[in-house]
Symmetry: C2
Subunit: 202 residues, 2 copies
DNA sequence: CCATTTAGATGATGATCGTCATCATAAATT
DNA sequence: AATTTATGATGACGATCATCATCTAAATGG
């Protein structure tokens, strides 16, 4: 049942894409190759025609998940925010609005890798950690643009990213919806505050 | 080989304590009962004399890990900080100094549960999530005290906690030490900024 | 002091895991 | 057209997992 070169490449791509989704739904150790491959429409046997190991796939899927995150940040940044306190950058407010809402929190698959399996990434193999590091660099780079080369733009971008990931992670843990919403609000407020600091030169 | 009541209680306690450490080192799915019990100085067989399931132990160990976190926060809050920018609460600066240092980041076992297995907690069973939620409530309550009933004390305490967890999680992922240190610095700066806002009524 | 209960060791259970050998088949190459 | 190559299915491998049955010896309760 050999497939054409083009179709083989498409299959490989489909596995990575499927893994990227599955990881964000179930985490690294919660994702098995069996489940993964059948989700991609195949049996488990073909896996090693495309990858050397599960770890190699995880690294690639992590990178792919970061790409998706970047796209979401870009799309969010160019939207008009639900609410934008005076002095806050509209782009940052819109990004906070996108990632720190109950709807985004309750989504399983569209979630960002760092929220979905961030604590597992700290224990992952070198290649995966590297993919995550580079993804994080790019994400922070995007946020940095929102500060228009201002003073401490990079520092502030990192702070915003930490608030996004911290708030998102905690909100997903909490089993009390009101408390969880409070966390989202606090993180959103924090990000707007950082943005205001930048425009006011605080 | 039956043991006395007191010793049985001590054994059970030792298992929970061991699990609390193991969880913070290896995460939830990275911790097996085999490994756990032998770490506690026993074979795996005796486990079910003390617990109904692995999940039940995880929930208790999570609660215990939160207790340890609370103790660390309390101890940190009453220390004098390495550096304390003008207007920043010394307690908050000291807490940031404790949790956002390279030394704390590089420790395996003493780490806080939300950093160590926060993303796994979001997918854990109801009892574990509840234990985590209550632990988080208490941690935020402690931080809230640092704001002395000021305006939005609770909101700010949540923001500080999100910055701690977000910063700590990201710093542990990154494989570039300089970048990781940068993340710790940014999160620390953020927390000092929140503290200053409170004293200045910003 | 005897009968009962039980903590913890040993070892088996079935399920699931990552990985690999084999095979049929169809694309690629000659 | 003949030969080689490689995809993906089938199924097995050994390891590991949570859980449980059984056995022991010691603590408990009468």
């Amino acid at each position: 049942m050999r497939k054409s070169k083009a179709e083989t490449a498409r299959t490989r791509n489909r596995i990575v894409e499927t893994a990227s989704d599955a990881l964000r739904r179930n985490g690294i150790s919660g994702t098995s190759l069996h489940e993964l491959m059948s989700e991609a429409g195949m049996t488990h046997g073909g896996f090693y025609r495309h990858f050397d190991s599960k770890e190699q796939l995880i690294a690639e899927a992590c990178s792919r998940g970061c790409d998706a995150l970047l796209d979401t940040i870009r799309a969010a940044g160019s939207r008009s925010p639900d609410a934008c306190p005076a002095g806050t950058s509209p782009g940052l407010a819109a990004i906070a609005d996108t990632f720190l809402t109950p709807e985004y929190r309750d989504e399983d698959a569209a979630c960002c890798p760092f929220v979905s399996f961030g604590s597992e990434l700290a224990r992952a193999d070198a290649a995966t950690r590297h993919a995550a590091t580079e993804g994080m660099r790019r994400a922070i780079g995007l946020l940095e643009q929102e500060f228009h080369d201002g003073d401490m733009a990079r520092m502030r971008a990192i702070a915003v990213f930490a608030a996004l990931i911290g708030g998102g992670t905690l909100a997903r843990i909490v089993d009390d919806p009101a408390f969880s919403d409070e966390i989202l609000q606090a993180a959103k407020m924090l990000i707007c505050r950082i943005s205001r600091d930048a425009t006011e030169g605080g």
